[in-house]
């Protein structure tokens, strides 16, 4: 198990590793993306995979380019930076993550740094309960690989349930206000599926929904996967 450092701070995460950045708004996201990803740009042995809902990978790349002050399209052309995207089918979404990450590892890159924002209940993306399943399967999927994955959770946009069931319970570590710490709420994948995912309160028939708005901004709900 290796350790992966940041550009501006002395924080470390492990590889393989899967941690949740809990941030507030785009500015903090941009700064932390630079902090986490820019060391890979100076080291030809490292690579980057960016993902998220449609359009987000390019947006993250734009943030990184702004941070480093240069065009990174040549790295994308040689596939040292790969742009991917999520899918409303979470099996496909997991494959969209694991295939390019394994490709980069097979080409000898180490570590591979991955960043992607969490989305919740948005059109064209996995339904929340499917997305949570995906999050819980990420760490088993990268076992043995030199990969550090940062999932970004925007506290200004997401509902509180995304934070507990997603950020805290499916990631071994969190990063809040620049500090990486262990997540004591983390549940290993099998336990998460058995004890949490099939008992999500909002899926239970008697649960209250929309008591008051849990959203800071509320888009239309996406369709739940029919295959899960």
């Amino acid at each position: 198990m290796g350790q992966v450092g940041f550009a501006r701070s002395d924080q470390l995460v492990t590889a393989p590793g899967h941690f949740a950045l809990i941030h507030h708004g785009e500015e903090e996201l941009r700064e932390t993306l630079f902090d986490f990803l820019s060391p890979a740009l100076d080291d030809p042995m490292q690579a980057i995979y960016l993902c998220g809902p449609p359009g987000w990978a390019a947006r993250l790349l734009g943030h990184l380019e702004t941070g480093v002050g240069r065009d990174l399209s040549s790295l994308a052309t040689e596939r040292r930076i790969i742009l991917g995207q999520g899918d409303r089918d979470v099996d496909q979404q997991l494959q969209n993550l694991l295939d390019p990450v394994r490709e980069l590892c097979e080409r000898g890159f180490s570590p591979v740094r991955v960043a992607g924002p969490a989305a919740w209940d948005v059109p064209g993306y996995a339904a929340p309960e499917d997305f949570l399943w995906y999050e819980s399967r990420v760490l088993p999927g990268i076992q043995g690989l030199p990969v550090a994955i940062m999932c970004t959770y925007d506290a200004a946009r997401l509902p509180a349930s995304a934070l507990l069931y997603g950020a805290l319970e499916t990631h071994t570590h969190t990063m809040i206000n620049g500090v990486v710490s262990e997540s004591p709420s983390f549940l290993p994948s099998d336990r998460y599926l058995k004890t949490r995912l099939i008992h999500l309160r909002w899926l239970e028939p008697d649960s209250r929904r929309d008591v008051t708005s849990a959203w800071e901004d509320r888009p239309a709900r996406g369709r739940r996967s029919q295959t899960r």
Partner: protein, 223 residues
Amino acid sequence: MRRSPDAPAYPIPSHVAFLHYGESEMRDAVFEFLLAGLERPNEALFCFGEPGVGERLLRYLESRVGRDLSPEYRAGRIVLGTADPDVDRQLENVIAPLEALSTSGFALVRFVGVVAWNVLDFPPPEDFLWFESKLNEVISGFPVIGLCPYDLARMPARAIVYGALETHPFVLSDGALRQNPQFIRPDRYLRERLLALPWLQDEGRARVQARDLRPGLPDGSGP
């Protein structure tokens, strides 16, 4: 009425954020918590929240134990407290009963403070966060377990990050009590977090932009 055998073992004193989804999960856990105190005559119960919340918790407790608890209320063993939009008054509404219960000789006070966010009759979020952080200092002087339910179905995520996670040394979720590594001590929380809350900075920037966009008004000439 039996309690669950694997009820969390709360340290004394302690300040615990309880993350739950919806009212039924909250009621079940709060009932367990309060019932443990009701069964021990040397413990007191203190229910706190928006106007009417304390009363509703008491009615619920009565319905679950199947008896009238007004004798305990009249005797001062059960106290109902009310939030206040003025956070200093709200803090006083907590401290004064804790002092009274402590003076009365109760070995433990079980305090339930039901959290609300950005609603009338409750302090504004940034004041409430100060209150939550300050409670750590207050609680350290009393034999009290403070349980603060945060409803994931009602709260925005920022309430969980800045409130539940950063101002409570312990978090209870899904029946498990855990030490909370994200907790920030009150002096540091005030300096590093409360004075730089991002949504206040966003609002400040928006105000400046709005002022700059207003035609014909020099700086500082607004109402």
